[in-house]
Amino acid sequence: MERRHAVSTTIVAIVVIAVLVVAAIAIAIALPSFASTKTVTIVPTTSSSTSTASQYKLALLVGGDVTDDGLNDQGVQVANWIASTYGWTVSVSQDVAYSSQGALMTSYAQQGYNVIWADGNQFIGTTEAIAAQFPNVKFIMTPTYDGDNLTKNVVALSAGNQATGYYLAGVLSGKMTKTGSVGVVIGQWFTALSLEFYAYKAGVHSANPNAKVYLSVPGTWSDPTIGNTVAMTMINTDHCDILVPIADTTGLGVIAAATTTNTTLIGTVLDQVVLSPTDMMTSVLLNMTAFIQPVIQHIIAGTWSQIGGKVQDLNLGSLGPFHNFDSVIPTSVKTLLAQTAAQMGALIGNGTMPFTYTPNPPTSP
């Protein structure tokens, strides 16, 4: 009995060691790609203090991080672009928790940062409050703002700035859907986001009046599992063959579901084709630089008063490249998209492209 005990122990020990060794080898193979970079999130100023641009310090707050290949990633990219183009000192804070927002902004303000950019709708309330406490610090609020509580040191981007892009995406979806059902997944329903949804829906119906636009609001931006399950439901039960995730990390679950079922996707904010090379038809781009650059230039020129305290109403949405779908989308559809884009002003004017807000999501497609 002792010997059998010893033999079985030995066997187990061998298996354990073998697995650990193979695992270690596998990790070691993967390790070179780690190659510890010393990428810092601050871009230091050039040491010359005679350059006027380097007296500017900008802080960026995002609620997620660069891994979302979306809004948060874009914010970081634009912030780094500011640093390299204008020589500003830039500090980026990612994954800012709700409870840390106020302290973080205060901390930046007290450290002498002249500009604080809060990129994400969850910062709105805190930004309004902190901006009131620090009138000498300038604040930037993106991506959408639908309030009326801006102090003179804040500039914001209006809600619906991607609406035109979503309308076009809707036209494309209406034309390309084979099942007649498309779906939108929004992390949480903000009144400000409803513009994008209704624009998309209007676009779909302008191209395909009988199509159904399903909507799902999981209630969180950070749960990929629920995104996945919700998407699977829309695919299997509602027969959606095009999905539009506007849901950050939750949206990643939606994308995973779509990829495993070969459902078409439309991305948001950035060209998100890398998230699903085979199934991402296009993305609704948000031209954040078109908003930020004039703001930066106003700051440098000292003409902030022209934009301070105001909500900038811009149309920053457009359709990104079609990548693998380029040959799939008929020329007639591409022409239609180009024409629609050209007529956008008229469509907005005659109400075809609606600017509808609702505080609660619609209950039926």
């Binding site: 122990t9 596998a26 780690f34 599992t225 039960t237 679950g253 495993t260």
Partner: protein, 314 residues
């Protein structure tokens, strides 16, 4: 007009991949606890293993290496936990909770470093349509169109149940957990058995984490939003299932199904007239069910007698 039939199939089909990681992890924890050691850290271990398996699969292109790496990471964490609790003998509850924080932090750290260059995604394993069975009405698409890792989880549960109840190894494990002194007198190396069971627990937790990535979502998210409480649920399932691997199948499925119902209803908008917030209450249902169940059946729920008590040879 909601198609309730198709909705039901959706719910059932979605419940299985949701059950898979819970089941793997709970089987591992059953073994650890049956031998007398509590491991509260499997949530963190799953997260770390998820990251490791994602990264290795992404970098090497091999799902096999990725799976093995994830399992290995879990095994290493199990080894650490058994060292701290069986060898050194610190408080098992605290050790497990600290392991949760530590493993989670390591995984997140790895992801932060890795994503400075590129954001890794892998395509989850495709479903395997079992030849004749998947054509069956209703149960076909639900049971027989899942991927390998899902099927494997049920197989593992059954096999581990057989081992626990039908082999001498299993007998020793149960003896060690119920009465370590008697087992010691009978010639069983109590602490060795415990070491092995805890390592096994970690290994299966590693498999659970890898299955989340390779068999379900194909991605990683920091801040414990990927495992999202399924490791804790696995610990709950162990008690719910009265430390039986077979019952753990049912227990894990209760939670997989509960989540699936809530998520599918949210996704189909069936309850949206009750307000979008009602989804949160739906998510609470499986937990309430678990508490009610234990309230009703507490008499049959007795943990292994030596659970959390370190053993020292006299």
């Amino acid at each position: 007009m909601t198609d309730y039939g198709s909705l039901t199939v959706s719910i059932l089909a979605a419940s299985l991949p949701l059950t898979m990681p819970i089941l793997y992890a709970s089987i591992g924890e059953v073994y650890a606890e049956k031998s007398g050691v509590l491991n509260m850290g499997i949530e963190g271990v799953m997260s770390l293993a998820a990251f490791v398996s994602l990264w290795v699969t992404y970098s090497t292109g091999s799902y096999f290496y990725g799976l093995l790496a994830g399992i290995g990471a879990g095994m290493a964490m199990g080894l650490f936990h058994s060292f701290a609790t069986v060898k050194i003998g610190i408080n098992q509850l605290i050790a497990g909770l600290m392991l949760y924080s530590l493993a989670l932090a390591i995984g997140d750290f790895g992801y932060v470093i890795a994503t400075k260059k590129v954001v890794p995604y892998v395509r989850p394993l495709s479903p395997v349509h079992l030849p004749v069975l998947s054509g069956l009405p209703v149960i076909g698409p639900v049971l027989f169109k899942q991927n390998l890792l899902v099927y494997l989880s049920f197989a593992v549960a059954v096999i581990m149940g057989l081992i626990l109840y039908k082999t001498t190894w299993g007998l020793k494990i149960r003896a060690v957990g119920e009465n370590p002194e008697a087992a010691d007198s009978a010639g069983v190396n109590v602490n060795l058995v415990r070491h092995l069971c805890v390592i096994l627990g970690g290994t299966l937790a590693g498999l659970a984490g890898a299955s989340l990535v390779l068999g379900y979502l194909g991605l990683y998210a920091t801040g414990d939003t990927l495992v999202a409480g399924r490791g804790w649920i696995a610990i709950v399932v162990v008690i719910f299932a009265r430390w039986s691997p077979y019952k753990a199948i049912a227990g894990a499925w209760v939670f997989g199904l509960g989540y699936s119902i809530a998520a599918v209803f949210i996704g189909s908008g069936v309850f949206s007239s009750l307000g979008t917030a009602s989804g949160y209450l739906l998510l609470a249902v499986p937990y309430v069910f678990a508490i009610v169940f234990i309230l009703l059946f507490h008499r049959g729920t007795k943990s292994p007698s030596s659970l959390t008590v370190p053993y020292k040879r006299r």
